[in-house]
Amino acid sequence: MTGTISTDVLIVGAGPVGLFAVFELGLLDLKCHLIDILDKPGGQCAELYPEKPIYDIPGWPSISAQGLVDKLLEQVAPFKPDFTYNRMVSSLEKLEDGGFRVITDENEVFEAKVVVIAAGGGSFQPKRPPIPGIEPYEGKSVFYSVRRMEDFRGQDLVIVGGGDSALDWTLNLQPVAKSITLVHRRPEFRAAPDSVNKMYAMQEAKQLEFRVGQVTGLAGTDGQLSSATIKGGPDGDVEVPCTRMLPFFGLTMKLGPIAEWGLNLHENLIPVDTEKFQTSVPGIFAVGDINWYPGKLKLILSGFHEVALMAQAAKRVISPGERIVFQYTTSSTSLQKKLGVSG
């Protein structure tokens, strides 16, 4: 465990709205630290549709989602935000001084005066594959990631999927596993052609088996798999030995542990007021797609508006009694100084 990381504002989610929050909070001299479950900033824009053009960002008749993320990063750079990637926030507790302690799934400890939830559709998590009855095996013999290759030594391993994760782990775990069956619903792969060629070469050498089809059934006891049924291939239904399974079916979004933070929820969204965008817990704000209020529209531009107002409220929480002078970036020399531009 590392030491406690202290910041003014902890932002959960580094999507476009979380990023622009850094700007609005920065103008009010508040320092931000962002945590995101992805390995990069940008949220859905970067993960789901980086190349898609967005047409409703004011002033940009058309901008690619990744282009918008890049511009936002450039815009917030003067405020030197800190980022922690590949982490999910797991718990939150209120401190006696009015701040919050937030702990991640890797046990890093953050202390912040204010918490801003900008988690969009929730955190990206591995998608559960469409295999009936998979739940009891999860975490015991079905895994969605490889933490230690040793865990797969001597196992009859079934890997499902056609992307880079599926192919990379097929190649990497082949020397360790007792047997490897790669299952994909078609002979074409999304993975890098080089990995696919290597896989076919290993199949030629009888070092692994590639089957076209879909896994439709699992057998085992007490969470321990023994076999998997594969349907749709040229041989009809086939049962293959399987003591470990690694399905790679992409990512989906889930609210995750935030649901346990004691905030009021409305159908997995966090209700806020439209003056401060504050949740039912004072000092915790929610902005962007994750919040809800009458008339809410899940638009990036709405999120930008929300963070501007939220920042004012957050400043009042952190510096009660301090007079906030409303200023424009076009004319205020003090704001321009913060932005690093000469007035």
């Binding site: 789901l48 549709y49 994909h184």
Partner: protein, 106 residues
């Protein structure tokens, strides 16, 4: 207007008038057809608007492009007539199109 028919998993028929140029998914959402989730809003990024095209229509509707095939990898019980409805554009030639909604999306 082009007529589309969605057949929900429980057998309920939804006959809708669709505008040319709109996607089959948009018409499902507008008409609250159960079983079409369209989580990503039509970006071909989630595979939750999966439908089965009626056999009489597969030739006219056509085959998925590579990007859609990739996304179909994440769908449940994919069949040769599977398509993502956000990638089918409504046009005159599809007047009378019938699609079935699968048991579940992913």
């Amino acid at each position: 207007m082009t007529k589309l028919t969605f057949i929900a998993h429980d057998g309920t028929h939804f006959d809708v008038d669709a505008e040319n140029g709109s996607t089959v998914m948009e018409n499902a959402i507008r008409n609250a057809v159960p079983g079409i989730e369209a989580e990503c809003g039509g970006a071909c990024a989630c595979a939750t608007c999966h439908v089965y095209v009626d056999d009489a229509w597969t030739a006219e509707v056509g085959e998925p492009e590579a990007m859609e095939e990739d996304m179909l990898d994440f769908a449940y019980d994919v069949q040769p007539n599977s398509r993502l409805s956000c990638q089918i554009k409504v046009r005159d030639a599809l007047d009378g199109l019938v699609v079935r909604v699968p048991e579940r999306q992913g």
